[in-house]
Amino acid sequence: MAGDAARIRRQNKLGKGLFLLFFIGPALLIYAVYNIYPIFATFYYSLFDWTGIQAEKTFLGLENYANLMKDRVFFRSLGNNVLLVFASVFTQIPLGLALALLLQSKIKGMRFFRTVYFLPFLMSTVAIAILWMFIYNPTFGVLNGLLSDLGLQSLQRSWLGEKSTAMGAVIATICWQFVPFYMILLRAGLTGIPEELLEAARIDGCTPWGTFTRITLPLLMPTIITSATLSTIGSLKYFDLIFVMTEGGPDSATELMATYMYKQAFRFFSMGYASAISSCMFILAFIAAAAILSLDRVRSRGGY
């Protein structure tokens, strides 16, 4: 009898093991091949001089990284990425919050406004890039047309063609695309704030601004932190829109780490050097995520 029980238990265990293998195995395999292995492979490739096409690789050790530290274009692109992080966090999230608050106020036709506000986020990034290239077009573009209607011809520019305006123009487009996303996130956060709290503050004679800074904002902090995390990580790996609109030009004025990495890998076929750039991107994204998470922990221990 005891032997039977042990056998059944063993069979059950085997059955469970097979079940897990069958249920988790396929997903884990795909995930490992396309997501986990490539990270290690990237670090490995970054130690070589390699075209990616020929079989032979020359071992360089850390020379690619040493060269990277002397590469002005790389630092230019890193600087642009940092600029993009700050521009995203400090324009998209406040604007998203402003719109979320606007949608809460009781004015007529809110449903219509909300529907239209969300539209930019539904268009594919490539479509947005192409559309905005026409908006910024120097000869028949919408922006220069608007300036001429306002009698401001002196402000007309080749927005994407000039070094001084290209980055700003691209950032404005990115903002247009992502504000609706943060609007949605923050709106969900706002609806989570109990109405009674706001009511109580009003009865106690709190001004609207006071209610906002002392109740709404602190309670919204977790959502804002999530938004800032997403925005920071997204900005560090940003690629599509800038690649289509300017390819990093003019004269690397809008170069990002990702566009620079793409060019090194798939235009100049310096796969080793490009791998060193993408390894740096990985490390930076990791540091940024860790920094935000630990700041968040300090904040929540602070008790507000």
Binding site: F19, S124, V126, I130, F140, F239
Partner: protein
Amino acid sequence: MKAAKSVILYALAILWLVIAGYPYAYMFATSLKDQSGFFQDPTGLIGKYTLDSYKLVFELGLFRYFANSVIISVICVGLVIILACMVSYCLARMRFFLNRPLYFIFIAGMMIPVHTTLIPVYILTREMGLYDQLWALVGPYIAFSLPVSVIILTQFAREIPGELEEAAIMDGAGRTRTFVSVILPLLAPATATVGIYNFIHIWNEFVFALILISTKARMTLPLGLREFYAEFSVNVPGIMAALTLGSLPLLIAYFISQEKVVSGISAGAVKG
């Protein structure tokens, strides 16, 4: 005072309405103009409308890109949902010693920048002989959709009451049977959210398609739109027609089920 306040609110609301909506209106209106009509009044929304650009865009092969995108999105979204449900069931409902580490590995995937994997995925795809085929995209798309999908579905599966599962087992159903006939139907609402989220991302995906596909006939829509732009940049109404058609599927989905699309999009913001 109150009236002044609502005037300001309306002014702000309308200001952003123009900012968010005008580019769309411009795209659509331009797609309906003919070329000379466009150059007479490039920024206006009203003019003599015609559907010629749409006809032209189809003659020039936009349909091919469209079909490729539909095929790849449907296959990948379907597979991701099935695989993620299977994984989530195990992570949420079963005890085994790798449970926590596995969950953590899937969460960590959300932090990985796509570009870190680009070169190895390209090399791997070449070695597997899949380079420049639509199928080359299936692996990367599934791998990058798994983390968010697994997290959402696992959190959802944890909420399912244990009694339902026990009842099925009492009735003599095996684990697989229980999964298919009890758990899967209960996961359906979360599956819809996950499906929409992944569909939007895969439909719009650009960089993997850019490095893995080079033949025009195998390109997905985002690559195809860029191709259109490069070839016909003088025919502005034609390009706008292509952009309008490319945006249509998500717009239609949005107008059919606004709540679902919105919740699908914000689903990406889950914290592990």
